[in-house]
Amino acid sequence: MRTKLDAVLHEVNQVLLGKEPQVRLALTCLLARGHLLIEDLPGMGKTTLSHALARILGLSFQRIQFTSDLLPGDILGTSVFDKDSGQFVFHPGPIFAELVLADEINRATPKSQSALLEAMEEGQVTIEGATRPLPEPFFVIATQNPVSSGGTFALPESQLDRFLMRLSLGYPARAAERALLLGEARREILPRLEPILDHAELAAIQALIPQVRTSDALVDYVLRLVEATRSEPQFAWGLSPRASLALLAAARAWAFLANRDYVIPEDVQAVLPAVVGHRLRERADPAGHGGGALVQWLLREVPAV
């Protein structure tokens, strides 16, 4: 099973060059049944990553481009009257895919955003009184464009909290970019990718992850981290229990990926920036993006052992 996971990582890394940590975190997020927010400039490989993951994990893939005039129905789907049958027939929206890429999510109005976010949280959508379950597995990769603040609706903290992780891909290293320039077009590689895991295997893995051992000492460390965010003065607010659960789940998945059946503090530290970075604000600047510095503070100052 784990060799297959290593193969998954290997394959994705063939497509998205030089981004091993981010790819590993993205897979961790998926294994932990969380959703992923990628905050980065356009053209950094967000779509490629999502697409490659979907292909290799054998997931159906849909992309929703969020715009300011996007309506909830455009995401969830609408019932259309079918003249032939004389009935309203539900046309499922793009959300009914196993891996959904919600591009530039902050360009849509809050109403449309919340339609997606509710679906993410509940795992089902209710349209016109009928509750329809979303496919299983269900994984959302949303992207945000940090630069284009004009005409955007920044996600409120409550909604950011629903993403297990927030990642930033960043520019590729020189060697990776050289390989990218010299190699085949990514667009041509993607259709050729073969699924490595089927749904049953993915589900089995996802079911194994909660069994990864978290010892008392490890939980103590997670508690120390969370308590620090709640008591130290530089934090505008502390981490929610949802955040601590997310942290533990992500750390388990990370440990599983590292071929271990127990979590060590280093696992928590590895996922900490991605898991809590978007949930923290500096007291001095509650609207800003001080999360990164706070996470570094946590990593540095909270006793790991």
Binding site: S215, N259, D261, V263, I264, E266, R300, E301, A304, V305
Partner: protein, 678 residues
């Protein structure tokens, strides 16, 4: 096991084999410390030493700024030779305290220009401590002792700065740590001061400087045109009871029995350590004396003195002598019987010594003596006649006597009639001897200044005095003071008060506070300062083995070696125990056995310069350590894995296993805390 998140091993700060440079902070503090160390020495060192320091410090700073290079071998040799030659020419010799101190300080300065590695820095710092200690040979006063805390703190700061640490950017923090270390050392210092056994000196330094001041062992009044008056302290005496009247305070130092026509000097016969015969009579006075170092063996006491101290003897001429020259402040307890009868019977060779006169010369005086002998059959009457002569004839007391010719006694008695105590004492002894009465000159000090509180007397060099004692069969020695006949105020008021109007008084010391004794508040300040100094000398410098024994006896009752050993070991043990408690804080001891082993693991690696960051996991830490210490990598990793297995993987808690692994790691680590890692 794949781990994408690998922290890059931090580059080792120390390259193997590379010379460790002097950190900036250490250099700064070294320079500061050098200034502080050398400053008090400038009082007795030639001034070019300051220039040498400026040269060397400037050079070293330029090296640090990469504007200059280190001196080459030839340059260094030239510097050493030039400095050695300069030292030789300014001191005339490189041997002895003065020359030695000069050489030591010069070495201390020269080492600066070849300060390349950390090792050189350590040499320089330890040399600095030694230079501080040599300063006590020149001045062991309270101010000097307090001042030496400054250079010691600066040297400590340099020593701390020399260690590689994050503090190397903050000079303030370094000196703060140094100061707190000094404070922590205080209780230990006090304990050692009180209880550490005092041993006699293994060697003593000849101290030419101190031998120059004070009394000398001979007296030639004829050759002195001007008596220089020094306000320097000679000794202090504190009486157990009432202080005797000033005119009874004749502090005997020496007796001069041999006269060669100009110079009075000691005779061999008076240098015996045989107890003279004397009979206790009248009341006794008890007092303790703290004397300044003189470089000579004689001590000061009132007649007839008894000292219960092994290495102090009463000599055959009733003076006290110490076995070794007094090179440090000395305190001794004396009991004196002023009215005792001294040597009532004649001893062998006494008459020949105390009637000795040069073969010829001073005919007028001899003639006068003959005349006196004819007039007075009773020696006492004769002595009184001489004293009366001084009293009634126009003799006067002066600090600037006219010089005397070949027949110095005649010249003084019948022509100039001006002089100070040595003239009168010498002339009277001469006349008494010529008249057949055994007599000798006694030199010492007269009087002393009572402290504000009335506790003790300060006797200064300007209280130096000379008087006469003559011998009669059956009555022994009697002291008389011819100066008293001429200048009774000299005795009654003391030299300071009697002559403070005299122009010659303290002419050489314009800044001596004694000159301004008429200004009330200056005098008060001076006396208060005297008090402090007295306590310093009495309780700190004077704390020798006798005082220590006394204190210990008071504390622990009758003293024997067993008890002493128990006290020292017990006290030391108690102190160490408290220190250990404070350092290890057992009440804060880790209760978790695994954690405890982890702390030991950390302590072990810390000794080799590796500290686990607070937020660093054990696995990361072990990986970092293993990268820096590849030889021990296996042991380090094994421990980390075992710890992880027990703590996180649900393995059974087995601290014993961790302990064994730690032991293995300790065996593999090099014994010395390596600053250079393999």
């Amino acid at each position: 096991m794949t781990r994408s998140q690998t922290k890059a091993a931090q580059p080792s700060a120390v390259q193997p084999g590379a010379v460790q440079p002097i950190p900036r902070i250490a250099l700064t503090w070294l320079l500061v410390a050098q200034v502080l160390v050398i400053l008090p020495h400038l009082l007795h060192l030639p001034f070019w030493i300051a220039g040498l320091w400026l040269l060397c410090a400037g050079w070293r700073v330029q090296v640090f700024r990469m504007r200059a290079r280190f001196p080459t071998g030839i340059e260094r040799i030239a510097l050493v030779i030039a400095t050695g030659a300069a030292a030789f020419f300014s001191r005339g010799s490189l041997i002895g305290l003065d020359g030695g101190a000069l050489l030591l300080v010069a070495t201390f300065i020269l080492k600066l220009v070849e300060l390349r590695s950390r090792r050189d820095g350590l040499v320089l710092i330890f040399l600095g401590f030694f230079v501080v200690v040599t300063g006590y040979l020149f001045d062991d006063g309270l101010l000097a002792a307090l001042y030496s805390l400054l250079p010691v703190t600066a040297l400590l700061a340099a020593l701390i700065g020399m260690q590689q640490s994050g503090m190397a950017e903050r000079p303030g923090a370094t000196v703060k740590l140094a100061a707190s270390m000094m404070l922590q050392a205080v209780p230990l210092m006090l304990l050692l001061f009180l209880f550490f056994p005092r041993m006699g000196p293994l060697w003593s330094l000849p101290n030419p400087q101190q031998a120059m001041t004070g009394l000398s062992d001979s007296m030639a009044p004829a050759d002195i045109a001007e008596l220089s008056q020094s306000p320097a302290l000679a000794f202090r005496a504190s009486f157990d009871g009432k202080v005797p009247a000033r005119r009874e305070l004749y502090w005997r130092a020496l007796t001069l029995e041999h006269f060669d026509g100009r110079r009075w000097s000691q005779s061999w016969g008076a240098q015996q350590r045989t107890q003279p015969v004397w009979l206790k009579q009248g009341p006794s006075v008890s007092y303790s004396v703290i004397m300044q170092p003189t470089g000579t063996q004689w001590l000061f006491a009132l007649d007839v003195a008894v000292v219960e101290q092994k290495d102090i003897y009463l000599m055959s001429d009733f003076r006290l002598e110490k076995r070794r020259p007094v090179t440090q402040n000395l305190m001794y307890q004396v009991r004196s019987w002023p009215q005792a009868v001294r040597e009532p019977t004649q001893t062998r060779g006494m008459l020949s010594r105390t009637l000795q006169l040069p073969g010829r010369g001073d005919p007028l005086s001899r003639e006068w003596a003959e005349q006196l002998r004819r007039e007075h059959t009773d020696p006492k009457g004769l002595v009184e006649a001489v004293l009366k002569h001084f009293n009634q004839q126009p003799y006067s007391y002066t600090l600037k006597p006219p010089t005397l010719g070949d027949d110095s006694i005649d010249d003084f008695l019948f022509r100039t009639k001006k002089g100070f105590c040595a003239h009168y004492a010498g002339a009277m002894t001469f006349v008494l001897r010529a008249a057949g009465i055994p007599a000798r000159v006694v030199t010492g000090y007269q009087g002393g200044e009572l402290s504000q509180s009335g506790d003790y007397l300060s006797v200064r060099q300007l209280d130096a005095h000379a008087w006469v004692e003559y011998w009669q069969e059956g009555r022994g020695w009697t002291s008389v003071d011819p100066t008293f006949q001429v200048a009774p105020e000299r005795i009654d008021l003391g030299a300071q008060d009697a002559y403070s109007d005299d122009e010659a008084f303290l002419e050489d010391s314009p800044f001596s506070p004694l000159r301004y004794r008429n200004v009330g508040w200056i005098n008060d300040l001076r006396l208060a300062w005297e008090n402090i100094n007295y306590s310093w000398q009495r309780w700190v410098l004077g704390y020798r083995s006798e005082q220590q024994l006394g204190l210990l006896q008071r504390l622990f009752g009758s003293l024997n070696w067993k008890r002493m050993a128990v006290a020292i070991v017990g006290g030391g043990g108690l102190l160490l125990g408290l220190l250990a408690l404070w350092l290890f804080k057992p009440w804060r001891r880790e209760r978790d056995p695994q954690q405890r082993q982890l702390r030991r693991f950390e302590a072990l690696l810390l000794r080799h310069g590796l500290r686990r960051a607070r937020g660093e996991g054990v696995r990361d830490f072990a990986a970092r350590a293993a990268a820096l210490m590849p030889r021990q990598a296996d042991a380090i990793t094994t421990f980390a894995q075992a710890f992880e297995a027990q703590r996180y993987a649900g393995g059974a808690s087995a601290p014993q296993e961790l302990r064994l692994l730690l032991r293995r790691l300790r065996r593999e680590l090099p014994w010395r805390a390596a600053t250079r890692r393999q």
